[in-house]
Amino acid sequence: MNTCNTIRDFITHEMLHDSLKTPLGDDDQLVDSGIIDSLGVMNLLSFLEEKFSIQIPDDDLIPENFASLSTITALVERQMAR
């Protein structure tokens, strides 16, 4: 499973709580729709850092980086490239 699909899988199962929903699109708005909230983002961070063996710096902990699957994937891939 590639990075984006791994993250999609986590968000779908851990945050949407409804597998019957329309599959999560790469650019669906996760913050603006309220899917990722204050606790959700910490849960997601914990998952990302463990799954991809990265540490996301404090400077990158901004809502824009969690806006959609695309931005989260880009964030993870930037950290993996370091």
Partner: protein, 381 residues
């Protein structure tokens, strides 16, 4: 995970225990009754470098790791009977961690030295009259103007609020956004036009720590007052609160250990029906539960502390520690009063003060009910 203290940590802990017993405990009954912030003891704690522990030496700190900081607050909670003072100190350190984690280099270099030395007292303004557990429903606003922001709103029950020199104020910068992106954090100094602190609020326990309102009325702060980036406040707070819960729990666990030791001593000395009351299971089982909770609390606390020390996320572990240790302490204090009977109810014997203080621990930094919500969410519910 290795939970054993290093030789250095044990040495520091012993120093803190001696210091607290000699310098911080005398007069606690009177101070509690008066409900006054003990500025002289704050200075003594500053001289002991209690507020400098986790900060870099370059910024006026002592450069200890977070586990050592936790071990020191654990020792402080064990030896110091003034829970209000401990929470005041923890608030100061947490404000420093907020700046260290999220502020820029200039802010850290400018602000941390006076914080670490205790010269200036810090507070964090989050709770509002209409938003407690629903933290991010806050109404305080920060509107952009002339390269800065105008803050309007009221924070309430703020720890260190009435004596604060600098406050970290959380405010809504983008009301059209959903929770995660709508709040930012600002540094507001005492004396800033439009910023005022209310009088200390009378309260049940923690009476040596002042709590009160912080009011912003057309309070202009320049752009560099923003801590972190605009809209980062919720994520910043969510990260900081993990550190906060661990640090606070260190003091609470120390308090639980002290209550346990006092109960064991009393249960051995006190005689009833011709024998020590500790021989009665009605007493010994209460104490056994305290002992068990100390052991489990230690595992919960240092599991979370080690994670934060490694800069790992610890939303679950910090909530588990906060929930378990604060509730264990409250129950232990209630049992300590019951074990002492009438004496437990008398102020002179100091157990009732521990009980009053312990109740607050299940409310501040997230109520037990909110910790349970967090734990449930992270269990996938």
């Amino acid at each position: 995970m290795n939970f054993a203290f290093t030789e250095e940590q044990q040495k520091i802990r012993n120093t803190i225990i001696d210091f607290a017993r000699q310098e911080l405990n005398p007069g606690i009954i009177e101070r509690d009754r008066a409900g006054v912030f003990p500025r002289d003891l704050w200075v003594k704690c500053a001289e002991m470098r209690l507020m400098a522990l986790p900060f870099p030496e370059a910024h006026g700190g002592d450069g200890f790791d977070f586990v050592t900081t936790v071990a020191v607050f654990h020792a402080l909670g064990y030896a110091c009977k003034d829970s209000g003072l401990i929470l005041s100190l923890a608030t100061q350190v947490i404000c420093g961690l907020t700046i260290q984690l999220s502020g820029n280099q200039e802010q850290a270099a400018c602000l941390l030295p006076d914080l670490a030395s205790g010269t200036l007292i810090y507070a964090q303004g989050i709770t509002e009259p209409d938003s407690g557990s629903d933290t991010f429903a806050m109404r305080t606003t920060a509107t952009k103007k002339d390269g800065g922001y105008i803050l309007n709103g009221t924070k309430t029950m703020i720890s260190n609020g009435p004596v604060t020199d600098r406050a970290l104020i959380y405010a809504v910068t983008n009301p059209t956004k959903k929770t995660l992106a709508r709040i930012s954090c600002f540094l507001v100094p005492k004396g800033n036009p439009g910023f005022s602190a209310g009088n200390p609020m009378e309260k049940m326990g923690l009476r040596t720590m002042t709590n009160g309102e912080l009011v912003c009325t057309d309070c202009y702060v320049p752009g560099p007052s923003l801590v972190g980036r605009e809209g980062q406040g919720v994520i910043l707070f969510s990260e900081v609160v993990e550190w906060e819960r661990v640090l606070i729990c260190a003091g609470l666990l120390g308090g639980l250990e002290r209550v346990l030791e006092d109960c064991i001593r009393y249960a051995k000395e006190r005689k009833a029906f011709g024998q020590s009351i500790g021989t009665f299971q009605a007493i010994s089982h209460k104490i056994a539960t305290m002992r068990m909770n100390v052991e489990l609390g230690r595992l919960a606390l240092y599991s979370a502390a080690i994670l934060k020390n490694k800069r790992k996320r610890a939303a679950l572990e910090s909530s588990v520690a906060k929930f378990f240790i604060s509730e264990s302490l409250k129950q232990a204090c209630l049992d300590a009063v019951q074990i002492r009977g009438g004496y437990g109810y008398m102020s002179e014997f100091e157990v009732e003060r521990d009980l009053r203080d312990s109740i607050a621990a299940t409310i501040y930094s997230g109520t037990s009910e909110m910790q349970a919500n967090t734990i449930a969410r992270l269990a996938g519910l």
